[in-house]
Amino acid sequence: MSMDEISVRSLLERHWEFAGSKDQSIAHEIYHDDAVLEFPQSGERFIGKERFQAFREKYPANLNFKIRRITGSGDLWVAENLISYDGGPWMFTVNVLRFRGSKVAAEYIYIMEGFERPQWRVEFGEAFDSLAPLD
């Protein structure tokens, strides 16, 4: 069974609603017990929900999330979100989520700051507000 967009959106909205809380049990309902979480930027891989839930419960900052966009099909979904640490400026995240059945089997998380629109290419593009939610 692959996930449809309404089911995925509903699961992920609940996940990020509780992802900043100290009790991580609700946020982690979306994962299989043997799920794998990776941060490719640092080469970190957490094998098993228990391990990444443990570090998230000890996260040394208050986290806020905003969902910008969820796209995908079949078993592969991508969330483009915003994250704020301790009330600081919004940063961008991309979460690549691979489902097995109705739960997440693997997640790859990327985190990055915004940057100024480079002046040398202004004439070839348009500006848009990427901090606003989309769908």
Binding site: S2, E38, F39, P40, Q41, S42, G43, E44, R45, F46, I47, R51, F52, A54, F55, K58, P60, R68, T71, G72, S73, G74, D75, L76, V78, E80, F92, V94, V96, R98, F99, Y108, Y110, I111, M112, E113, G114, F115, E116, R117, P118, W120, R121, F124, G125, E126, A127, F128, D129, S130, L131
Partner: protein, 147 residues
């Protein structure tokens, strides 16, 4: 257009990045646009896409395709002889790659591709710098060779 056809389009598109403009423009939909959400930039059309990539200060990054994720994984050898995991279904694909810039900095690049009528309609690209694994969560982690 079947999912298999779309996958072939995505593979060809990613291999043509960043500067094989003939192939890229052929695979870009007439309504193609690329977004750089981090800077809030929207680039419409193949001509503007090409104009930017031709003028990239310091040269374009040397892309080493790392992984294209979706729900049908398989491995292929990219022209740079880097192993690449290609996957995806329907009209939605995500590519994760490594980029090495002329100034020595290293990034992970994520490109989300949406296809329409067998061509690339939308690309959204994010640039994520590598970072050192935080020590406070080391007791739960394994380090891969990816970073």
């Amino acid at each position: 257009m079947t999912s298999r056809d779309n996958r072939a389009v995505v593979e060809k598109y990613l291999r043509a990045l960043p500067a094989d403009f003939e192939v890229l423009s052929d695979l870009q939909h007439d309504d193609f646009a690329e977004e750089f959400p981090q800077s809030g930039e929207l680039i419409r059309g193949s001509e503007n896409f090409r104009a930017i990539h031709e003028r990239y200060p310091g040269g374009t990054p040397d892309d080493e395709l790392q992984r294209v994720t979706g729900s049908e994984d398989r491995w292929v050898v990219a022209p740079t002889f880097t192993l690449v995991r290609i996957s995806g279904v329907g009209d939605s694909f995500t590519a994760e790659s490594k980029a090495f810039y002329p100034d020595g900095s290293e990034y992970r690049v994520v490109t989300i591709l949406e296809l329409k009528e067998g061509r690339v309609l939308r690309a959204r690209t994010y640039f994520a710098p590598v970072f050192e694994a935080p020590g406070w969560r080391a007791e739960w982690v394994e380090l891969t060779n990816d970073a």
